[in-house]
């Protein structure tokens, strides 16, 4: 990743330049001459491509701004976003957007605080990216947001966007300012906010406490671990108390709110795609990790089970799994499962993706040199510790791009929910064209809009994975 050019002997110019080095620091005029018009055939290629691109852009522009019939999109934006979610309950989703925006802001701020603290220990000044860089980094998503705002016919969405971004920015600033020793606390708050954002839409449904209890339990396990093994106990115990307190307050505050909500079986539109993808990613990652470790385990039973599972799942189409989970699982389980349709669908997505994640992670595990494990063993580390602190971090880092690719595929595959009768965004499009006034009208436009929505998120995920890869690669050769 050093960007050192590979030089062919006797050639002036490097024939292959890796990564950053590709952008040589030339003034634009010179760069253009050097790279686009340096020989007659390159000039020809450049001219042809520019003509082709220009024509394509012209046609697309015509479609977007002149011929395009965007009223089906314009008039049904809410439908595309949340489907037939009860309109009188829409405030819940508004609240969710604001809360999750704040969650992301806070998490981001705390992460920056952590990074700058570690940097200060190293004696290196931490340099935060300027605003412009951040805007450029997320231009896909921001572009989608802008498009939505341009298409809306009321000020509601604009106000929502401004409030959400404002809250996010505010919490980011707060997160950055909080001293490092409260990082655990802040992460606990992030957890509470995330869960709260979910709960505000879904309501309690009698099992809401599970969602509150899960992050609390994870936080508690982590803290108990630290108390038991490393840090001075008193201070940690106090922190544990505070974290528990934060969750307690969040829980009480939440339970005093309206408990009704709208269960997730009624979620639709882009909202549904995003929720399903997020939940499935969050569940499939640990499951895939465990499967990969099981496949390399020294216990034959475990190994055989993991291998058969992975090969079975990878051998069948995702749609068949979705259908199976939806309609036929009762034939095998011989019970009337109480699971809702969406829960089953998410289970199918999770089980499917986990198998692929497992194979990706296995590749990463194999890429860690044997000497690393031996070095860990030779200081007396337990097999668990060697895996946890030496093998996994290196393995996962090596497979970030492949893994994010799998997550992007999962996100796009949520469009298959339409096949089992759920109104995710692509299916919403069908609903739109079932409306009398839009029957057969603007069908290309609505499709382009849906594609754009998928693209904006996928592209952002892909860019983030590249950035993460670069960031984690610091100092490695």
């Amino acid at each position: 990743m050093t960007g050192r050019p590979f030089m062919e002997p006797g050639l002036e110019e490097p024939i292959l330049v890796i990564d950053e080095g590709r952008r040589d620091k030339l003034p634009p005029g010179k760069w253009v001459r050097r790279h686009l018009f340096n020989s007659w055939h390159n000039t020809l290629v450049t001219v042809l491509l520019v003509l082709l691109l220009g024509y394509a852009a012209y046609r697309f522009g015509l479609f977007l701004f002149v011929n395009g019939r965007w009223s089906p999109v314009r008039r049904n934006l809410t439908l595309f976003m949340v489907g037939r979610y009860p309109r009188e309950e829409l405030w819940r989703i508004v609240a969710q957007v604001v809360i999750w925006s704040g969650t992301i802001g806070l998490a981001w701020g705390v992460a920056i605080a952590g990074a700058s603290f570690r940097a200060s220990q190293t004696g290196v000044a931490y340099r935060e990216d300027p605003l412009l860089t951040k805007v450029r980094r997320y231009w896909g998503l921001l572009g989608l947001l802008l498009l939505l705002l341009l298409l809306t016919e009321s000020f509601g969405p604009l106000i929502l966007a401004l409030v959400a971004i404002g809250v996010g920015a505010l919490l980011q600033v707060i997160g950055k300012r909080v001293p490092g020793q409260y990082a655990d606390l802040m992460w606990a708050a992030v957890g509470v906010l995330a869960v709260g954002g979910y709960q505000i839409v879904s309501g309690f449904h009698g099992r809401g406490w599970i969602w509150m209890a899960t992050p609390l339990a994870l936080g508690a396990v982590r803290l108990v671990g630290r108390i038991a093994w490393t840090d001075p106990r008193r201070e940690r115990l106090m922190q544990l108390g505070v974290v528990a307190g934060v969750f307690g307050i969040g829980y009480v505050a939440y339970s005093m709110l309206d408990l009704e909500g709208v269960g997730w079986d009624h979620w639709e539109g882009l909202h549904l795609n995003l929720i399903v993808a997020t939940v499935a990613i969050v569940l499939a990652f640990p499951l895939g990790l465990l499967l990969a470790l099981a496949r390399r385990s020294s216990l034959p039973a475990l190994r055989v089970m993991a291998t058969s599972y992975i090969e079975l799942i990878r051998g069948v189409p995702l749609i068949s799994l979705l259908l199976m989970a939806q309609f036929f699982i009762g034939f095998f389980l011989n019970t009337t499962t109480p699971l809702s349709a969406l829960t089953r669908a998410i289970a199918a997505f999770t089980l499917f993706t986990a198998a692929y994640i497992a194979e990706i992670v296995r590749g990463g595990l194999q890429s860690v040199p044997k000497g690393q494990i031996e070095a860990g063993q030779s200081v007396g580390l337990s097999p668990f510790r060697v895996t946890r602190s030496i093998v996994l971090p290196q393995a996962l880092r090596a497979v970030i791009p492949a893994m994010v690719g799998q997550f992007i595929a999962l996100f796009k595959d949520t469009s298959l929910l339409s096949i089992i009768g759920m109104a995710e965004i692509l299916q919403v499009r069908a609903l739109v064209h079932a409306q009398a006034e839009f029957r057969g009208f603007g069908i290309a436009e609505t499709l382009v809009f849906v594609m754009l929505a998928f693209w904006a998120f996928s592209f952002t995920m892909s860019r983030e994975s590249q950035r993460l890869e670069r960031k984690l690669g610091i100092g490695e050769r």
Binding site: A375, V379, S382, Q394
Partner: protein, 266 residues
Amino acid sequence: MEKRPDSHQTAEVFLDATEMRGTGELIIELEGVDKYFGDFQALKGINMKVARQEVVVVIGPSGSGKSTLIRCINRLETHDRGRIVVDNTELTDDIRRIQEVRAETGMVFQQFNLFPHLTVIDNITLGPRHVRNMPKKAAEDLAMEILTRVKIPEQAHKFPGQLSGGQQQRVAIARSLAMNPKVMLFDEPTSALDPEMIKEVLDVMKELARSGMTMLVITHEMGFAREVADRVVFMADGEIVEVGTPEHFFRNPKEERTRLFISQIL
């Protein structure tokens, strides 16, 4: 842990006891050790004893089993026959006991094998924190102390990839020392280094030898052997061919194979 009676009476040591330094109390003992890789026998009936505070240098041609020998001592390889006893603990399949032995036995590799995703100080504190359950702060203080000893305290917060080979190898030595081991095993610690870096690593090793560390070193650095080794072991074809003081080796080795080898490397 299986305790054995103190072994210096039983020291029917296979070489002259006068050549042994220190207390003569044994810390490593191999009896009739065989090791196979498939059909190939890499170690053939190895008998060897190392006393506390001894520095033993192992030499021999490529493929003679030197690495295999010391990798058996901390059970990175399992032996197939015979007994290996390290610090009064016999090496068996009992993983807990092996972890204890490994914690007491530092190992330095030819290729350093530092953890590239951890900073230097995290490389060093990993063992003390997770094996010795040392609090983070104490482990870091210890690491800084040892880094000062190997003369690179200023590199503490860099990543291994940012260091020179010699510096990396000194970090690897520091990582072992942080466990406060009773024995240090070195497998050609300077073979992967550029000539100008060899000295800085050898200097650290000499200082270590002077401080009384028990060391078992595979190396072709004959200057090092001459200066600090109490004994030199010559291996060929999976066997120990000859054992003696450095002077013995350089003046008049008994065996023909030894003579040939010495004449080749000098």
